[in-house]
């Protein structure tokens, strides 16, 4: 599917992209910016689809990349998922959306709530209603929020239950080396909100320990001045789900590593076998349990199969992709999860040159590993009393243990 905003460019430009696609070993490895003799192809790869923008002039690639991601976000928002068949199914809406989002290369409206006022998202009920009444899903009035100083919120929002939920999500990115010491660790944090409040509420959120933040980026609704001076998040929230803030606690501060992995992998044993032995245990968790633990190990190519025994959870090994996955579940402190057994190697293959890394996934509920805590949430501007809730989750981001 194609859409042109300026002059029409022939489809054949995509051939350059396909060339690169053939060359790359996996879809993730295609460079995001490709130069062709006359155009520049800027692509993003999301949910197994490529979104390619063709540019004729010097542009800011990040601008395009961000925009493409926003387009995909919008599709996901509208159709709840973004796949090839979904896009085909809703191509008229997609087309209308694209038309509304970009004009002559300038983004127009990318806030989902404005788009939703212009073009109603499809749902079964409305589709039926439309066929019956002959109405369309295109609104004929100008959305009110579009030009106000707070373009992210529309006026006249009404709820019977006024609720404001905050999810403090922290992802631990870490690289642990062979000996178990931390090579680098950082926390990527997000505050995702689900806010269903009537009218024009003005919220302010304060933290017990705001000094933790040195690297933050905010949703446009946050008043930066207030944050600078008082370290309070003050904002008029968009309606519904949105990411209020993301933060990064980096290499300067010490990051607690909640889990340890003891491992031994030997692939050079006599004959064609190797041994694997991995034990997991909690480290700094402040008494919370570690849940949903999954270990992924991309094994070297010469590994044929694994004969492993676990004392907890299930493991699978895919002989094609050579990926060993061990779904551990929760870590019980009294009986540490363990997996051990033999690995059969291709006979006569050269010695394995590369050591695999273990990719660890886990979640810890009710804990923000950085120690972040919300102090209080106040609402101004409206009279009702909202229901407030805060949830903390720590997850593994890119948590890798080298073997």
């Amino acid at each position: 599917m194609e859409k042109h905003w300026k002059s029409v460019i022939s489809r054949s430009v995509c051939d350059y992209f396909f060339d690169h696609q053939r060359k790359a070993s996996s879809p993730e490895d295609i460079p995001p910016v490709i130069a062709t003799p006359h155009h520049y192809l800027i692509s993003v790869y999301r949910s197994s689809m490529f979104f390619v923008a063709v540019c004729t002039t010097e542009v800011a690639p990040l601008f395009v990349v961000e925009f493409l991601h926003r387009v995909v976000d919008t599709f996901e928002d509208y159709f709840s998922e973004c796949t090839e068949s979904i896009i085909k199914e809703h191509y008229v809406v997609v087309y209308e959306l694209l038309d509304e989002m970009l004009d002559n290369g300038f983004p127009l409206a990318t806030e989902s709530n404005i788009l939703k006022e212009l073009i109603k998202p499809p749902n079964i009920l409305r589709t039926i209603a439309n066929t019956v009444t002959g109405k369309s899903n295109v609104s004929s009035t100008l959305p009110s929020g579009q030009l106000s100083n707070i373009p992210w919120r529309r006026t006249g929002v009404k709820y019977t239950n006024n609720e404001a939920y905050f999810d403090m999500i922290e992802e631990v990115d870490a690289i642990i080396d062979k000996s178990g010491s931390t090579v680098c660790a950082e926390i990527q944090g997000y505050i995702d909100c689900c806010i269903k409040l009537s009218g024009m509420p003005d919220l302010s959120l304060s933290f017990v320990n705001p000094r933790l933040f040195d690297d933050v980026s905010f949703h446009p609704c946050v008043r930066f001045k207030r944050w600078e001076s008082e370290r309070v998040l003050s904002f008029i929230p968009p309606d519904g789900n949105f990411r209020l803030m993301s933060y990064h606690i980096g290499s300067q501060s010490i990051v607690a590593i909640p889990v340890y992995v003891r491992h031994s992998l030997c692939l050079r044993e006599s004959g064609s076998g190797g041994r694997l032995d991995i034990t997991l245990g909690p480290k700094q968790t402040l008494g919370r349990t570690i849940e949903n633990v999954v270990l992924e190990i991309p094994m070297p190519k010469s590994v044929l199969n694994c004969g492993l025994v676990t004392n907890q959870g299930k493991y699978t090994f895919d002989p094609v992709s050579k990926l060993l996955v061990w779904e551990v579940g929760r870590i019980d402190v009294t009986k540490l999860p363990n997996i051990r057994g033999t690995i059969s190697l291709q006979s006569g293959s050269p010695p394995v040159e590369a050591n695999p890394s273990i990719n660890v996934k886990f979640t810890i509920n009710q804990l923000a590993v950085s120690g972040l805590k919300v102090n209080r949430l106040d609402m101004y501007g409206e009279k009702y009393k909202p229901f407030k809730g805060v949830k903390y989750i720590t997850k593994a981001g890119k948590f890798q243990v080298r073997m």
Partner: protein
């Protein structure tokens, strides 16, 4: 029922079917049909035949249908221009629709129809829409101006749309401002003249900064990008702009962040690098850049390419953030490679251990490209951080032990570089390298290995055997390897001539007779001839000391880097090429960083007080040359050069010795240039048409010793400079009754160390009533004692009658030496160095000919004849300013500034010298010369 059904109707006669459906009376049917048409269009089918039918559907109240038809129109209007005209009426009507959404839609669509005929009709509605009451329409119209400019730029200019667009910059609605900025910057970029159509003023910048806080993220990008093209007037403005932009660094949109970084990086150049503000700004820049690295891989890639530039320009920003660049095994390969690059750039003594252990880890990964680059990075690390070299070498050796083929090869290539950087340090590892000789199959690795063997041939016992083994397959080798092998064997021969003669013969014949590679053949012949004629010379050539390779050969050239810094966030920053190198049809407006504050303040000062800096680029700053462009001061050639041009070589010697020797060699002119300097003053005198004799000012002789005091001997005299030599011209008159003889002269110690260079030659005996002239050459090498006044010279003259004493004043100009022309740079530097209290000002009154139009030139030439050299000349507010330098015989430099007002007989003279007490004398000299 989903839209996918529209794609499935691929029967024959489909177009016909659609046609009938489009003409159906029922609205629903029509809409379905249009949807089908659009579906065919999006997958690339040609449905242009339906054009009139689709256009017929345009007049409808249904917004969705209208949108669809508009979509169709945009695609096909170009191929059906005549039909498109039919649609114009509807457009014009829609532009006056009460619903702003429809007005905006119509204006938008019209702009997208790239048909010349339509644009004529577009003007009126567009003009109205630019003034529409609804901001949504205004902002759409702003974009439409840019579209129109793309189609027909002259029309936009003629119709005054640009002015209207500029007015929108001060619109009350920030979104309108943002779109106007976007449109204007697009127009600027595509403008044929290459010069911006809209100049940024501090007022507009202020408006933009206000709008910045309120408009959408995309608008912010446009505003920031156009701010980056603005050059603040001074430091204060740059700083306050930076302050207002800094909050953008915390924006969630990566494009906003990077654009803000661009503006900050650019404006930071203007601020003094040691100021507190810059330090704190540097701290603030790091976190947002780090944050970019935790977003999607595509964003990471672009961010990394930009960080690569930023790190080269200001390594301080990220020096503590090494860890964020550590590679995760599931990063896409393009991110991995970029991270590696930046790790090396950030490597320093402090973090090198960490970096090395990471690099070693990477070298055992699976991806071959990445592993190679990691190994190479270890080598670069060794070259960059000397302290780490040892560790790097041992790491490389460990890697060689893994025996993984491509790792070994890559390691050998980088070890060669390490050898070149630290010769004679790590030879102990050569034996390990030699073990892997057989596994090398890549030309670069083979060539590197051969180079190592050749270079250290004397320490490798079996070097001849090793090289011989390579020689066997000489013909099949890559030319790189062949060349290396040739050189290596010649080196070996020169080091061990006894047992390698055969080998060298073999390789030379292979290279010269059996090869058709001209490079190889030529090199072979050269070696052959060298070896056969003069082995000693061959040794000197082949085994010469090699320059050490530098650590930063991979850095970008500073000027390119500066230009790229101005293009942060753009494609140029991703390719690390200036936009002119890859964007088509781009008129070459090069962006450059603003001059640093230091250079800037220099510029300000110069306009007030002196001309010199206007033409002398401050060499110490990279961007210094911008300075001279900005100020645009008159270019001042070395003063005499232009008029003296006919006397080619004479003029040249003023330009500097280097040139004139060149000239002497190349030109057939018989006059040896080296002979010229002494007579250049006289020569120049000729050129200026003045008689040479009167060129140098000579004070009339004054009576120094009246006869009544000199026992009948009357002495009058003056000081004069001829051909670079100081003379005392004396007239002895014998007013006594008897002849005088036995004249001798002696000077007391004086301020300038003047002594007679030869004995006094006077007619002797001097009969009564006779006057005799004598010219006494003087040297300035005598003992020095400061006199009061400075120019006083006490003289004793002896004759047969008595010893007579008198004192005379040496006119200062006689002490001006010929090499008193100061280099411009030195002049500027000296002028600044000399404290202000050393500056003395005089007024020279009633100077002749001052009404003359070329009076200034007369002054220049006249002073030049007296060894006062004009360094620069400029005109400030109708006044001529001359900057002159002179040097006294005792090496004291005096720097002068002359202010000449046309018509005013008075000239203001400002003097600066490290010894201010010469000032009075110099002033006297000026006064005399200019009045003389």
């Amino acid at each position: 029922m989903t839209d996918s059904k529209y794609f499935t109707t691929t029967k024959k006669g489909e177009i016909f079917e659609l046609k009938s459906e489009l003409n159906n009376d029922k609205k629903e049917k029509k809409k379905e049909a249009v949807k089908k048409v659009i579906a065919s269009m999006t997958v690339g089918k040609d449905v242009s035949a339906l054009f009139p039918d689709v256009v017929n559907c345009m007049q409808t109240d249904n917004l969705e249908l209208k949108k669809l038809v508009y979509l169709y129109l945009m695609n096909y209007a170009k191929s059906q221009p005549d039909m498109a005209i039919m649609a114009v009426n509807t457009f014009v009507k829609d532009c006056e629709d009460p619903n702003p959404l429809i007005r905006a839609l119509a204006v938008r669509t019209m702009g997208c129809i790239r048909v010349d005929k339509i644009t004529e009709y577009l003007c009126e509605p567009l003009r109205k829409c630019l003034k529409d009451e609804d901001p949504y329409v205004r902002k759409t119209a702003a974009v439409c101006v840019a579209k129109l400019y793309d189609i027909n730029s002259s029309m936009v200019e003629d119709q005054g749309f640009l002015d209207q667009l500029k007015d929108l910059l001060s619109d009350s609605n920030p979104m309108v401002v943002a779109n106007a900025v976007a449109a204007l910057s697009e127009i600027n970029e595509s403008s044929s003249s290459g010069s911006p159509l809209v100049e940024m003023t501090p007022q507009t910048v202020n408006k933009l900064l206000t709008a910045l806080n309120e408009c959408t993220e995309w608008g912010q990008v446009f505003i920031l990008d156009s701010l980056a093209n603005y050059s603040p007037r001074d430091e204060r403005e740059a700083q306050s702009t930076c302050e207002r932009i800094t909050p953008r660094l915390a924006h969630a949109n990566a494009a906003v962040v990077l654009s803000a970084v661009k503006v900050l990086m650019k404006f930071m150049e203007m601020l003094p690098s040691d100021s507190e503000f810059v330090t704190s700004l540097t701290k603030k820049l790091a976190p947002p850049l780090v944050t970019l690295l935790s977003s999607e891989p595509e964003v990471q890639y672009v961010a990394l390419r930009n960080i690569n530039l930023i790190v080269q320009k200001r390594p301080d920003i990220l020096k503590h953030e090494m860890k964020v660049f550590f590679v995760k095994y599931n990063d896409p390969i393009y991110v991995k490679l970029e991270k590696l690059d930046i790790m090396i750039r950030l490597a320093s003594q402090a973090n090198v251990a960490q970096v090395l252990s990471e690099l070693k880890e990477y070298a055992t990964e699976v991806d071959v490209d990445f592993v190679r680059k990691a190994v190479r990075a270890i080598g670069r690390c060794a070259i960059k951080v000397e302290q780490s070299a040892e560790r790097c070498v041992s790491t490389l050796l460990d890697l060689i032990q893994t025996k993984v083929n491509y790792v070994v090869q890559e390691a050998i290539v980088v070890i060669k570089d390490i050898f070149r950087k630290y010769p004679n340090k790590y030879e102990s590892i050569i034996s390990t390298l030699c073990e892997n000789l057989d596994t090398l199959d890549e030309p670069e690795a083979r060539a590197s290995m051969i180079w190592i063997i050749g270079e250290y041939a004397e320490r490798i016992d079996n070097a001849d055997e090793l090289l011989e083994s390579f020689l066997e397959g000489f013909a099949d080798e890559n030319s790189q390897v062949q060349l290396q092998l040739l050189t290596a064997i010649v080196k070996l021969f020169l080091k061990r001539p006894s047992d390698t003669q055969e080998l060298v013969q073999q390789v030379l014949s292979l290279a010269t007779q059996d090869s058709d590679n001209p490079d190889l053949r030529d090199r072979g012949f050269i070696y052959w001839r060298l070896l056969s004629t003069d082995p000693a010379a061959a040794k000197e050539v082949v085994l010469a000391e090699k320059p050490l390779i530098s650590e930063e050969t991979d850095l970008l050239e500073p000027t390119l880097l500066d230009e790229l810094i101005c293009h942060i966030s753009s494609l140029a920053s991703v390719y690390h090429k200036p936009p002119s190198a890859f964007v088509e049809g781009r008129s070459g407006i090069r962006k450059s960083l603003p001059a640093s504050a230091r250079a800037g303040s220099e510029g300000v000062e110069s306009t007030e007080s002196q001309a010199a800096p206007a033409v002398i680029p401050a060499q110490d700053s990279l961007i210094g040359d911008l300075l001279s462009m900005d100020i645009g001061g008159p270019t001042v050639a070395p003063v005499a050069a232009a008029p003296a041009a006919p006397f080619g070589s004479a003029a040249m010697d003023l330009l500097g010795g280097g040139l004139d020797t060149l000239l002497g060699e190349t030109s057939s002119s018989p006059a040896p240039p080296s002979a010229l300097p002494a007579s250049s003053a006289a020569l120049l005198g000729d050129i200026f048409g003045a008689p040479a004799a009167s060129a140098t000012y000579v004070a009339p002789k004054t009576t120094w010793l009246p006869a009544e005091k000199g026992k009948g001997l009357d002495i009058s005299g003056s000081f004069v400079r001829r051909n670079g030599q100081l003379f005392m011209d004396l007239t002895f008159s014998n007013k006594a009754m008897q002849p005088m003889l036995g004249f001798a002269i002696q000077f007391n110690k004086n301020s300038f160390g003047i002594t007679p260079a030869s004995p006094l030659q006077v007619q002797s005996p001097l009969p009564p009533g006779v006057a005799a002239d004598a010219s006494l050459p003087l040297a300035t090498t005598g003992p020095v004692q400061k006199m009061e006044p400075l120019t006083t010279l006490q003289v004793a003259v002896k004759n047969n009658v008595d010893v007579m004493y008198f004192a005379c004043q040496i006119p200062m100009h006689a002490l001006f030496v010929e090499d008193g022309q100061m280099d411009k740079r030195v002049f500027l530097a000296t002028w600044k160095e000399i404290p202000a209290q050393n500056e003395v000002q005089y007024t020279i009154t009633n100077v002749m000919h001052s009404a003359d139009s070329n009076f200034t030139d007369t002054v220049v030439s006249r002073m030049q004849q007296n060894n006062v050299f004009t360094i620069a000349k400029r005109n400030v507010e109708g006044q001529d300013m001359l900057y002159q330098s002179l040097k006294l015989t005792n090496g004291i430099w005096v720097l002068n500034e002359l202010k000449i007002q046309p018509g005013n007989p008075n000239i203001t003279l400002s003097l600066k010298s490290r010894t201010p007490n010469v000032a009075e004398g110099v002033f006297q000299a000026y006064d005399n010369i200019l009045h003389g």
